[in-house]
């Protein structure tokens, strides 16, 4: 009898913890939302299939089919913070395309079917997730950052699946290499970020002459120093030798802020996450320094300012998109529609932190399918490596990366939005404009 009460109490405790967790938390209800969106998309597809092919569709006699697209990101564990936007936006893109009549390649119109797996921020779990994707029959997979997916690139290559990393950090781990012909990246990662960063520094903070790099230990390594100098060369900005490296989960940033101030640089640059760079900025300002912050991270600046606190939020910029009404005019139309879908599906918080990497990677794949006129990974890969320019969700985007990665045209250089911290602007920051770049 005693044990029975104990079990009931245990269940009560579980329920209490869960209810207190989910009831007062908007974000988690967001996570539950995809359940509905994935399911209806699901029902819609079979209905369409059931319609007999020969019911002569008025326009062209297009066949209809479903195309499975896989998403392999980390929705749990320490990397969930970075990948949850990718998860939301990927599903929003699938819904957006399915709502607008599916995606036509050649003579067939496809309804997209999202197959999502969770890597749990753990290499073995990621590899298991990759294998379950292979068995679920997907031919195209959008993946998380490149330093993760290196561990299961061989699985996708053996099975002839085209897999593109949503964010290629620095290819330090050898993801885009000749041995992986089917490996691509839907955003050129740090290469593009830093190019845009130097361009923005030159454009909006012309008097910055020297920059010190500050990043966490898996963001930058010492060899990439000369790479940075090559990006800074056209704008004759000096990149200092000293680099400030802080551990990913550091508990206190004041010691690193001191290193930045002591370096005497006009600006500190890196692609640290919003909480890291927010705390770092707060610590730099706490030492009374006005060093310009150049955050190459794609997260909206409002998130970063939340950590920094408004007192420290001046003299700095980040490359995050803005979801505010006033700034929509400067965005490509598709981006605004997508942000709408995310807001409707996952709530305004998710829309406010719109990043677009995974959505754009999927969109690039779909564009390449159309260009190749086939849904065979090999043909799509050939179309992608042919290079040229496409209209991605960010605007005119140049396919490239041959020089940077040593693999012909496996990456893209898309324009970056620049938002600048400005205490007297509305909300403490101001959305400037998109900066177009191309990667060598």
């Amino acid at each position: 009898m005693k044990k029975l009460i104990a079990l009931l109490l245990a269940m009560a405790m579980v329920f209490a913890l869960v209810s207190c967790g989910s009831s007062s938390a908007p974000a988690s209800s967001g996570a539950a939302a995809p359940a509905e969106s994935a399911a209806p998309a699901q029902d819609a597809a079979p209905a369409q299939d059931a319609a007999p092919a020969e019911d002569s569709a008025p326009a062209e006699a297009t066949k209809t089919d479903t195309l499975k697209v896989g998403l392999m990101v980390h929705t749990t564990g320490w990397f969930a913070g970075v990948d949850t936007p990718n998860y939301n936006e990927f599903n929003a893109m699938v819904k957006f395309i399915n709502d607008n009549g599916g995606w036509t390649v050649g003579d067939t119109t496809y309804t997209l079917e999202a197959v999502c797996v969770d890597g749990q921020s753990d290499y073995p779990a990621l590899r298991t997730a990759a294998m379950s994707l292979v068995d679920s029959g997907v031919k195209f997979v959008v993946e998380t950052n490149d330093f993760w997916v290196n561990s299961c690139a061989d699985v996708f290559e053996d099975e002839g699946i085209l897999h593109a990393s949503a964010y290629c950090v620095s290819n330090a781990t050898g993801y885009l290499i000749p041995e992986n012909p089917l490996a691509f990246t839907g955003s050129d990662g740090t290469v593009g970020d830093y190019q845009a960063c130097f361009a923005a520094l030159h454009e909006y903070y012309p008097d910055v002459k020297s920059v010190v790099l500050a990043n966490d230990d898996n963001g930058l390594s010492t060899e990439s120093l000369d790479l940075m100098r090559s990006y800074a060369a056209p704008y004759d900005i000096e990149v200092l030798d000293t680099m400030v490296i802080y551990p990913g989960d550091t508990t206190d940033y004041s010691s690193y802020a001191k290193q930045i101030v002591d370096s005497g640089a006009d600006a500190f640059m890196g692609n640290g996450s919003p909480d890291a760079y927010g705390n770092l900025l707060k610590a730099v300002r706490a030492l009374g320094a006005d060093t310009v912050m150049a955050c190459a991270q794609g997260k909206p600046i409002s998130m970063l300012m939340e950590y920094a606190g408004e007192k420290a939020s001046y003299n700095g910029f980040s490359l995050g998109t803005s979801s505010r009404e006033a700034d929509q005019a400067k965005n490509p139309q598709m981006l605004n529609d997508l942000v709408q879908v995310v807001a409707q599906e996952y709530g305004d918080d998710a829309a406010a932190t719109f990043d677009g990497a995974a959505a754009n990677t999927l969109y690039m794949m779909l564009l390449m399918m159309q260009k190749a006129g086939s849904v065979e990974p090999k043909d799509v890969a050939a179309a992608w490596t042919a290079g040229g320019q496409v209209e991605s969700i960010y605007g005119t985007t140049n396919i490239g990366g041959t020089e940077t990665y040593g693999v012909e045209n496996h990456a893209i250089g898309h324009p970056r939005p620049v938002s600048v911290m400005n205490p007297d602007a509305e909300g403490g920051w101001e959305f400037k404009d998109w900066i177009e770049i191309s990667i060598p």
Binding site: V117, Y123, S132, D135, D158
Partner: protein, 357 residues
């Protein structure tokens, strides 16, 4: 004494045959991957069992697996040592590290031993995380893969690459299980059990407590290092974060849920819990081959919401903790005990009724 041992051996034999034949039948990538995970977790749970028999609970199993994995990985990456040398080297390294770090704590009892091994394990993993050569936060990348090393063998046996990996891991796991079974079912096992019941008496009959405890820790670390080494080649990329507290705690859970009553206990625990943990991926892969709509929809829904699956694992854990004192392997005894208790209650009720008539 003979009859239960035979029964114990029978269930072990069945498990061996099952785990030999099934991957031939269910040969999709994720089924074979699940079998590999189960086999690796089995070795972890059984290796821990040997230390538990000697009266202590080690909280460093994950760390020693990590030591084996990183040793094999780094030997292969930096000195391109072939796998049949790097894997045993991982096992030997784990044993040496296990004995050195185990020695100061070997004399301690229960709580202090557990906490000591936990700190030692965490310190080891943090050392690896701070060691640039070991790949730092990005982890050790591009370890020569098991599939390529076994490609020759795979063609000869015309198995798929990943099936060949499975059978190598299965072979090594079998080797470890035989060692553990033999160690437990001979005089060494009896001596370890004696040590657990009373160290004082064991010493008085000539058993050197430190030596035998270290023997248990050493053998356990050897098996953890061996299976860690082969896993690092299978994964081709390892990070210290997957050998930390979480792995260690769950290896303890496989053993406890399975039940410490019999040798086969941890094996059941590893099977059940590994499946529950990987349920989301399993269903996603099954959705590929099945065509009944509702199942595919459910699989995609669970795949999308796989963040909720740990609640399922925690629920299984709490059920076993409260309702099955003997663990999975103890179910027959728990049922017998409940039935006996109910019978007693009925009897008592009758006597009371009889008495009052």
């Amino acid at each position: 004494m003979k009859q239960p041992v035979l029964k114990g051996k029978l269930s072990l034999l069945i498990l061996c045959v099952l785990f030999f034949v099934l991957p031939l039948a269910l040969n999709s990538r994720s089924w074979v991957d699940l079998f590999i995970t189960i086999v690796v977790n089995m070795v972890g749970a059984v290796a821990l069992r040997l230390i538990v028999i000697s009266g202590n609970l080690s909280f460093a199993q994950g760390a020693f697996m990590g030591v084996g994995a990183y040793t094999a990985g780094m030997l292969a990456v930096y000195l391109n040592v072939p796998i049949w040398l790097s894997i045993p080297a991982g096992a030997i390294m784990a044993t040496i590290v296990g004995l050195i770090t185990g020695w100061p704590f070997a004399r301690l009892k229960s709580v202090y031993f557990s906490m000591g091994t936990m700190f030692m394990g965490q310190a080891l993993m943090l050392m690896i995380s701070a060691w640039p050569l070991a790949g730092g936060a990005l982890g050790l990348q591009r370890i020569p893969s098991l599939t390529s090393a076994l490609s020759g063998v795979a063609d000869v046996l015309h198995l798929k690459g990943y099936q060949a990996c499975y059978y190598l891991i299965f072979l090594l796991a079998l080797f470890c299980l035989v060692i553990m079974y033999r160690m437990e079912h001979c005089r060494i096992g009896t001596t370890l059990r004696a040590l657990a019941q009373s160290e004082e008496v064991a010493a008085s009959i000539g058993v050197n407590p430190t030596f035998y405890r270290l023997l248990a820790v050493g053998t356990s670390c050897f098996c953890m290092g061996l299976i860690g080494g082969v896993q690092s080649h299978y994964l081709t990329t390892i990070s210290y974060s997957s050998y930390g507290m979480n792995t260690t705690l769950w290896i303890i859970m496989y053993m406890m849920i399975g039940g410490t009553g019999k040798f086969v206990g941890p094996l059941y625990g590893a099977i059940v819990i590994s499946i529950v943990q990987g349920i989301a991926n399993l269903l996603t892969s099954l959705s590929g081959s099945s065509n009944n709509e509702s199942f595919v929809a459910f699989a995609h829904w669970l795949g999308a919401n796989s963040a909720y699956t740990p609640f399922l694992t925690a629920a299984v854990l709490l059920v076993v903790a409260y309702l099955l004192p003997g663990g999975l392997v103890g179910i027959p005894d728990t049922i017998r005990a409940n039935r006996a208790r109910r019978a007693e209650k009925k009897e008592a009720a009758e006597i009371a009724k009889g008495g009052s008539k």
